[in-house]
């Protein structure tokens, strides 16, 4: 190999140092928040004078926090369901379809990824105001669906492009109807793509804050919105606990992704 890690000599240690620094840069803020959430100081002093679970008790004792967490979960679950379903249908059209403007349409599906979210948020806010959807779960789900769908379309079209249509044809000649062939053969074969689409859709909605702030009402708030509003009113370590829990679920999901990917490979 042209660039062998073992033969780099002392450059090896420069690479190790850079990798370490980047990792620290990415991870330290999260570790910092996690540490603060267990600290006893009311004023988020670092390093914490002593350790406590008090802020977690307060989080779980406050119905508003729990309600926000529940709202977030509900919305993320609905977004996941619709994002994967619509993404799957769209991907079949984009990969298998033969029509003019297919490439353009595919690019169009990905535009929410590059569009500034705040622009999208303002536009949706104005639009939903007319429909009376602001402050409703439907509004939340629709708004998050816009930003989650590109991930689904990307993951599923990739999986479908890598799947040989002859395999589905073989299933049809084996006696399965075209629909049955898709359910029994094609979908299981692109399962890794569907799984990625589901996880990314869930996470997109789960920690999304800009659209959520626009969609929220005093009675309907997701966890990130609750963190944001609380942060503006008073600085309590409960925010740190809430953030830590938010990150914890994300990490668990990413671990699940890693495990399932390994399962798909073997």
């Amino acid at each position: 190999m042209l660039l062998s890690f073992e033969r780099l000599g002392w450059w090896k240690w420069v690479l190790v140092a850079i990798t370490g620094l980047v990792t620290a840069f990415l991870l330290l803020p999260i570790l910092f928040i996690a540490a603060l959430s267990f600290g006893s100081s009311q004023w988020l002093i670092f390093p914490p004078p002593s350790w406590t679970l008090k802020w977690y008790r307060e989080f779980f004792a406050d119905p508003r926090w729990l309600e926000s967490a529940w709202t977030s979960l509900q919305i993320a679950a609905l977004v996941t369901l619709f994002s994967v379903g619509i993404g799957l249908c769209a991907s079949f059209a984009l990969v298998r379809g033969k029509f003019r403007g297919r490439e353009t349409l595919k690019a169009f599906f990905l535009t929410p990824m590059i569009l500034p979210v705040v622009v999208l948020a303002v536009a949706l806010y104005a639009f939903f105001l007319r429909l009376g959807l602001n402050g409703t779960v439907t509004g939340f789900v629709l708004a998050h669906l816009v930003v989650a769908l590109p991930f689904s379309v990307l993951a599923i079209t990739n999986a479908l492009e890598g799947f040989d249509k002859s395999i589905e044809d073989a299933a049809v000649l084996c006696g399965a109807s075209p629909l049955e062939a898709k359910f029994r053969v094609t979908l299981p074969a692109i399962g890794h793509g569907l799984f990625s689409a589901a996880i990314f859709s869930f996470l997109t909605s789960w920690d999304e804050v800009v659209l959520a702030i626009f969609m929220a009402s005093p009675t309907l708030q997701t966890l990130p919105v609750r963190i944001w509003t609380t942060l503006r009113q008073d600085l309590t370590p409960v925010i740190a606990s809430a953030s830590t829990l938010l990150v914890l679920l994300t990490i668990l999901l990413m671990l699940l992704v890693a495990l399932v990917r390994k399962g798909f490979k073997s």
Partner: protein, 360 residues
Amino acid sequence: MTAPYLHIRGIRKDYGSVTAVENVDLEIRRGEFMTFLGPSGSGKSTTLYILAGFQDPTAGDILLEGKSLLQTPSHLRQIGMVFQRYTLFPHLTVAENIGFPLKVRRKGRAEIDAKVRDMLRLVRLEGFEDRKPADMSGGQQQRVALARALAYDPPVLLMDEPLSALDKKLREEIQVEIRRIHQETEVTILYVTHDQEEALRLSDRIAVFSKGVIDQVGTGPELYANPATRFVAEFIGDSDFLTCSVLSSDGRTADVRLGSDFVVPGVPVHGGGGGRSAGALLLRPERISLHRHQPAEAGTLPVTVGGLTFLGSNVHVAATTGWGEPVAVRLPFGHGAIEGLSRGDTVWLGFDPRATHVFC
């Protein structure tokens, strides 16, 4: 003759203004091994895909035991197929793959298990039940695909260049297997290939496709001994073509002239009208005799040796006629006529005019 088992009648397929196949007419007997042979783009795969129901013909019909298949969707045609690419279901084991056609037919567990065992024995892959396709070689995968295609006893099995992704040795091994399986199951097979050797090795009859039409249908020896067109002659076996002019023709045989004065009488003629015209004389390199000295009898063609190539059991002699056309002769290794033969020598070629053909 009674009605054919499978009748492909006047099939034509257009893609826009391009005609992929036309006038494809074939009658196939029950249990026959019929091969569609031709270069890529000759329409052989298109015909097979029409049989499978993946494409609809622009015109024509397909009759199985007298009943049209065209209105029946693919999954109800009860036709088995092995594809060019590996098409095993990646998330299922070998046993589940083979059992798939029975499972979609809602067969019972015991029946499926028994059939899977039978099929694994048929393709000689006992003990592979729980393997996943990704853990098998290409040859094994195609054998499983064959087992899956035969699992529900289809009346007709389609095979679309199933061995083209395998190396030569493995290909020959599986050809023997396919031949054996055909004899054991007595299934009617339609086999597509561009490999003449494969076609000759496997088939009862071969349909030679060229540019969307069938040039000729016949057994291997028939096609080789009596090619109907120059294309068939070129595609099956090795061939030498010498330009000639037709001196006279009665539509069946003709007298032709090579060069300025070498006349070959009574050559079977294909195509063209009567009278004088240009043509191509077909010689088979292994049916030409080579003489070091001019023989007493007339009718041998003097040529100049260009070189010898050793090809194992055969030796290939490249030569040039007096008017500069190349002609190849093939002789068995150790043949007396090639001992000490070297470049630049003049030799005389003898052949039986009745075993040659002229195409005009």
